[in-house]
Subunit: 99 residues, 5 copies
């Protein structure tokens, strides 16, 4: 899984039936560098059924495993938010802690 | 999923039976940078059953999840257009809005 | 899918039973840049059951979707030629046309 | 599979049911360079059911194959620790040996 | 598939049951450049049931297709050696020929 920050959303009227009524968020991949959580290079669009809000740090599963998440079986998704992160520790120190 | 702009099409006579009668578009991946939707580095060929036209900004699912899209079960595809994007918001501001 | 040029072949005697009697081509990924089809950075080995010859521009499906192509179900392949391209249009102009 | 060093952990309360009670580690990909095991560029979050501790050098399977690991069938994971490495040899010499 | 050179091995006592008794090799991806087979940037750990020895040039399948190789069905692997290469031709000339 990758760590990402939810930064926005995507709205689409014409879409596959499997995406009907589903929320799509814009997520900016983040990486841990020198003990800090910093923006990475990739931005991906992911399904979200956990209520992730803008600014939330989340975990995203990519590939066909994304379809194992609740409600995604009939959805042609390749990325889904599978957790809202409370805390990340690296090298014995917290690099992120939810406010 | 990734955001991409449809820029062209591919025509092939000799192909797997699963691609018979299916439309293939050339899609240029786009990324959000400094609040703008700009061309990225990758270009991929994707199936399209939603009627995406040249210039449309779309969402593309990659990998085996692409086969979950309608009509793709028997098609050896690894990329399919799953939505025509109306609007993308990032950091509270619109970065794309369909004309 | 990606666009690639067939540039060679791989011969192997010791191999998985699923590859017995199957042709493997060396394919050089190509990208569209400034309206031209030019060599990219990746080179991959793909199964070919469509009779792709050296110099042919083809479409290649990667990942587990490759096994959906005819004859690949029992083959541990992650890349297969699924079409011999006749023509590619981008931005309203032809970037490739089979001789 | 890739070689990675476990450097931390991720804690999340709001998550998919399939991740309930499962441990998630922060793993830093490592590569062999000039006969040495050195940090690479990627950092991924992986499930761990083998008891990997901070500092351990492990093998991680990515993609949908991760769900074949014990206990992962109903988990939307795309990365799992599948072995705690004792030793790595490259070019006839040990590049890593567990203390 | 990718071309790789077997350069070493990985030994692990604590591992998923699916990897019990299975050999894991360190493989260095190779690419064809200017008519020569040269080392690439990636190094991956792959299952090998074909008896690949150090120095052998092999083909590796990645992703969930790897589990289609003989004996891998219950193994959470994402990379497996599927052939020991005898010869590679590119642009009409041999770039590799087994000694």
């Amino acid at each position: 899984m990758i760590i990402a920050k939810v930064v926005g959303k995507v709205v689409a009227t014409v879409k596959d039936a499997g995406f009907e009524g589903k929320k799509l968020v814009v997520a900016h991949a983040h990486v841990i560098k020198d003990g800090q959580l910093v923006p990475g290079q990739n931005m991906i669009i992911a399904n979200d059924e956990l209520g992730a809000g803008e600014g939330d740090i989340v975990l995203i599963t990519q590939g066909s495993s994304a379809r194992i998440a609740p409600g995604m079986k009939a959805c042609a998704t390749d990325a889904v938010v599978i957790a809202l992160i409370d805390r990340i520790d690296s090298d014995g120190r917290p690099v992120f802690s939810k406010a």
